[in-house]
């Protein structure tokens, strides 16, 4: 009869116990990983509905940057890969925006790049998001991405300069509220997002009125 090799060694029973604990631990980890989708970390479609839209793994979204807004909420940008190798940046504006990730419905817009990802050609990509307040006015939130050459970024206006936090190359910011969607506030105009390198030299400046004009149909 073939005997178990560990039985010949001193402490064999103890070793078998260790292997048992390791196996149980491994089984536990596998169980947690398998259960994760059921716990809310599954795949969702964002910015559309099947068959259109983009599929992301909820558990892969990471909050990269957040600011408190003037109305007591937070504006946070969450970034994560799409299931086909692209990347999404999802804006969320809510009291718990910096800690609670966006999902199919709990988001305030954003953009996704399809695969294969291309390097960012412009030093600064900026989006302006008009968020309907329900009282006829719009909160205006900026969200964007800066190239690696940008070390510092700020929002400039006639009223002064506001540093914008930069996290993982992404930024968020806030403009004064607007009376209508698609209109920049007149108070404080002109508005510009300006990026600087580590020496303090200007890398790029995005005039928001020019960007809006370029991105909008001629009426």
């Amino acid at each position: 009869m073939k005997r178990h090799p560990l039985r010949h060694l001193p402490g064999g029973r103890q070793r078998r116990g260790r292997w048992g604990y390791a196996a149980a631990g491994l089984a536990g980890i596998v169980a947690v990983l398998l259960a994760a989708p059921a716990l809310g970390n599954g795949r969702i479609t964002i910015f559309g509905h099947s068959p259109n839209g983009v599929e992301i793994e909820l558990g892969q979204l990471r909050q990269v940057v957040a600011i408190p807004t003037s109305n007591g909420k937070q504006a946070a940008l969450w970034v994560g890969p799409t299931t086909d190798g692209g990347r999404c940046a999802v804006l969320r504006v809510a009291a718990d925006a910096s800690t609670s990730p966006p999902d199919t419905i709990r988001n305030n817009g954003g953009w996704c790049e399809g695969a294969p990802l291309r390097p960012q050609t412009a030093p600064i990509t900026t989006t302006m998001n008009w968020l309907n307040r329900g009282d006829g006015g719009f909160d205006l939130v900026l969200a964007g991405r800066a190239s690696p050459s940008v070390a510092r970024i700020e929002l400039q206006s006639a009223n002064g300069t506001t540093p914008l936090p930069l996290g993982g190359g992404y930024f968020v910011g806030e403009l004064p509220s607007s009376a209508a969607a698609g209109e920049l506030p007149t108070d404080g105009a002109p508005y510009a997002v300006v990026g600087y390198d580590h020496t303090g030299a200007t890398v790029a400046a995005v005039d928001l009125a020019q960007l809006l004009a370029s991105a909008s149909p001629r009426s």
Binding site: I46, F47, G48, H49, N52, G53, V54, C88, L91, V93, T104, I105, N107, N108, G109, G110, W111, C112, E113, G114, P116, L117, R118, P119, Q120, T121, A122, T125, T126, T127, M128, N129, W130, L131, N132, G134, F138, G144, A180, A181, G182, L211, L212, S214, A215, S216, P217, R218
Partner: protein, 138 residues
């Protein structure tokens, strides 16, 4: 004598045609890559808005579908009601390659909704308007 002249004339014509063909081929070879670069572009696709019927909120979504080598694009996406009023809007860019964009979710109770997506790709403006949804009217 007459035959010699005719032969010379024919040879000249053949030579001329050959030179013309060579020049045309060289010109085409030089132009073709530039043309394909210029032709590479993006196409806007406005999706029918997403609606959460429980909360009666809607979101405009769309896609800019790009060919390889296309220029970057800037965009405006709007959620509109049947009367043409903009319920919410997002504008921005530039974005490289195929991309997907969405607006904020906004209250839409009673409204027939559609998405309008405009892109400026390399200076050329293009737009698409989705079909209408009545999902927010129930």
């Amino acid at each position: 004598m007459e035959n010699t002249r005719t032969r010379r004339c024919a040879r000249s014509i053949v030579l001329g045609l050959a030179m013309f063909t060579a020049c045309a081929l060289v010109t085409l070879a030089a132009i073709a890559p530039a043309s394909s670069r210029v032709l590479a572009t993006c196409t806007p696709i406005a999706y029918v808005p997403s609606v959460d019927t429980g909360q009666r909120i809607g979101q405009a979504n769309g896609q800019s579908s790009c060919e390889a080598g296309s220029p970057s694009w800037q965009y405006t996406i709007r959620l509109l009601n049947r009367a043409g009023s903009t319920l919410t809007q997002t504008s921005g860019g530039p974005i490289n390659g195929t991309g997907f964009v969405g607006t904020n979710w906004v209250s839409c109770a009673g409204a027939y909704l559609h998405t309008f997506l405009y892109i400026n790709v390399g200076g050329a403006g293009k737009s698409d308007t989705s079909g209408e949804t009545s999902a927010c009217t129930y």
